[in-house]
């Protein structure tokens, strides 16, 4: 059992409040990702879970037991560090078995465990090498092996892939996902890479300034962001944010390339009812595309736009235009991207637009 409950955890360093009351319930076997910009407190939260830093107030429950006051070694938690933190003078086998050695596991059992883990991670042939003789990807595997060897109740990953090159990162990402499927152990994973977060997580906790902004599945976070920060942080290229006036009928006034448009959106009746006059429109780039007859519907609207710049990405092309004087990204097919320029016909799918309060950045539903 490896459920983990983080309850009202705060952490202050001197007068700086780094964690401001964190509440997260992590189910047994869940893959939870903590994501946020640097300085948001995600690594501090990780360290408090590991017991490397004490919480100022609050409680940590591991499988229902209060572990708030326990030392790291008594929490049955293993961690993979960003820098791998392999012991430089020990060979791979000893690096993997060190935790077992410190816990008094007999030599024979340790050797067997090293064999199992190294087979699982395909590092059998490296067991006699020192960390300095390994490549980045190999070190990464050894670091994971060290965590796996003890079969702990919870694994913590602190930005484990950020020191790898792009190709290896994608490979290891898949490997971690497979590993989680296979082991089914609870994982808490810190990253600032939102693609990693989207691809790996069962649930994502988006953090900013020591506060969890939103906790939800990748789809919830992506389609239903709690506020403008979350909406802007998740997704690449990022969501478009366009400040708009609200017309008296609840539609949004958009001015693009000399045309004035009125966008009637699913939330229009709410806006009218609540008498809201200004909003920030949040629109994912993939909702603004070349005309696709097969996707036509009530919420799809055709319009023409001028695009100044196109950025071909291979699978699709990002075209940059302007709404209400704000740069806006559209995601076109490569063919449409080639034709993009003055007065390009496009369509906008308004079914998934989100609205934010211009002052607070909070979601208007």
């Amino acid at each position: 059992m490896g459920s983990l409950t983080i309850s009202n955890v705060t952490k202050t360093f001197g007068s700086t409040e780094v964690l401001k009351g964190i509440n997260i319930d992590i189910a047994d076997g869940e893959f939870l990702i903590l994501v946020g910009p640097s300085g948001c407190g995600k690594s501090t939260l990780m360290n408090t879970i590991a017991g490397l830093e004490e919480v100022t107030t609050g409680q940590l429950l591991l499988a229902g037991e209060d572990v708030t006051e326990r030392s790291p070694k008594d929490r049955d938690i293993a961690m993979v560090f960003q820098s791998y933190a392999l012991y430089p003078t020990m060979n791979v086998a000893r690096n993997i078995s060190f935790g077992l050695e410190m816990r008094g596991v007999p030599k024979q059992e340790r050797d067997q465990r090293v064999q199992e883990v190294s087979t699982l991670l395909q590092i059998n042939h490296l067991l006699d090498r020192k960390p300095s003789q390994l490549s980045g990807g190999q070190r990464q595997r050894v670091a994971m092996g060290r965590a796996l060897a003890r079969s702990p109740r919870v694994y913590l990953f602190d930005e484990p892939l950020s020191n790898l090159d792009a190709k290896l990162r994608v490979e290891m990402r898949t490997e971690i996902k497979k590993l989680h499927k296979r082991l089914g152990t609870t994982i808490v994973y810190v990253t600032h890479d939102q693609i990693e977060a989207m691809t790996l997580a069962d649930r994502i906790a988006v953090m900013k300034d020591g506060v969890v902004q939103q906790l939800g599945t990748p789809n919830e976070i992506y389609d239903n962001p709690a506020n403008q920060f979350v909406a802007g942080f998740m997704g690449s290229p990022p969501m478009n944010f366009v400040p708009c006036e609200v017309n008296s009928d609840g539609s949004l006034a958009i001015d693009t390339s000399g045309h004035s448009l009125s966008l009637t959106i699913p939330q229009s009746s709410t806006l009218k009812a609540q008498n809201i006059s200004r909003v920030i429109l949040g629109l994912r780039p993939e909702m603004l595309t070349e005309p696709k007859p097969e996707r036509a519907g009530d919420s799809v609207m055709a319009l023409e736009m001028d695009f100044d710049v196109t950025e071909p990405m291979g699978a699709d092309t990002i075209a940059i235009g302007e709404w209400n004087g704000i740069e806006i990204l559209a995601r076109l097919s490569p063919e449409a991207g080639l034709r993009a320029g003055k007065s390009t016909p496009v369509q906008v799918d308004l079914s998934k637009v989100v609205l934010f309060d211009p002052e607070s950045g909070e979601r208007i539903r």
């Binding site: 790291p72 060190f98 935790g99």
Partner: protein, 286 residues
């Protein structure tokens, strides 16, 4: 022919270096040759000439029978006094320094930076300042004129330096290693023993050479805090040179000085390359 101009410049530089090398080595040469001559030859001969009939008489006398004050047993007993002082003092101060450095680098606590600064201050306290208080302290502990007392003095004085060395070395060790080991279940001393000690050879070498040289060559503490039978070799050398029975035996003086200087030379020759490596260890990440 620009090449020959170059080489003339080169020759000038080499010649200059040679002259200085000779100048610097001259005293050593004089000491060694003089120690191998007999006293007659020294009186009559040239200071720079090679010994006509090399003899180890002066070395034997300096070691075994020269007079240091009223006794005439040579330097041998004092040499062993020095060993008895230096070995424990070096080992203890180095071990304490290693632990201190480990704590100050990786187990920061409230006020640890202040403590480190205060400890550093210890490196700059002149010997003379502590002479009287230390004498008082040793008397209180009943350690006046004992080898233990001298060891204590050297350990206390050395800890500031050894801590500085080890702390600066360990600061460059990634803290994540400590965290990883903590999660692996290692305690404070296990982390020190399994993670830190194995990477510490260069800094141990530096510290041991430094401490050995400092303590072996110390004269002031030796002369102040030692008593009959516990004097270190530096004090004995001074006494030997200042005691004259009949004429002055320069060859014995020279041999005695060489005997007193030999251990530090040996240590440096044996471990010198680690010394240089260790001093620059913090600069380049290994």
């Amino acid at each position: 022919m620009g090449n020959s101009n170059m080489s003339i410049g080169r020759y000038a530089i080499y010649a200059c270096l040679m002259i200085f090398a000779v100048l610097y080595l001259m005293p050593l040469y004089v000491m060694i040759t003089t120690s191998l001559k007999d006293i007659e030859e020294i009186r009559q001969g040239n200071l720079l000439s090679l010994p006509a009939a090399p003899t180890l008489y002066a070395w034997a006398k300096a070691w075994g029978s020269a007079c240091t004050g009223s006794e005439c047993e040579g330097l041998a007993p004092f040499f062993f006094n020095s060993i008895r002082i230096v070995v424990p003092a070096v080992l203890i101060s180095t071990l304490i320094g290693a632990l201190n450095g480990y704590v100050l680098a990786k187990w920061r606590f409230r006020g640890s930076e202040f403590l480190f600064a205060a400890l550093l201050f210890g490196c700059f306290i002149p010997f003379q300042v502590i002479l009287l208080p230390m004498a008082r302290l040793l008397a209180t502990f009943g350690l006046a004129n004992t080898v233990t007392g001298l060891v204590l003095v050297h350990v206390i004085y050395g800890v500031a330096f050894t801590t500085l060395f080890f702390r600066n070395f360990y600061v460059s060790v990634p803290t994540e290693l400590v965290k990883a080991a903590q999660l692996d279940g290692a305690n404070f001393f296990q982390i020190f023993r399994h993670i830190f000690l194995p990477i510490s050879l260069p800094i141990f070498t530096v510290t041991i050479i430094w401490q050995f040289t400092q303590i072996w060559n110390d004269f002031l503490f030796g002369v102040v805090y030692s008593g009959q039978g516990t004097q270190p070799i530096t004090v004995a050398l001074n006494n030997l040179v200042n005691t004259s029975v009949g004429g002055k035996e320069y060859n014995v003086d020279m041999a005695a000085a060489l005997i007193a200087a030999l251990p530090t030379l040996v240590v440096y020759v044996l471990a010198g390359k680690y010394f240089v490596r260790g001093l620059t260890a913090g600069a380049v990440k290994g």
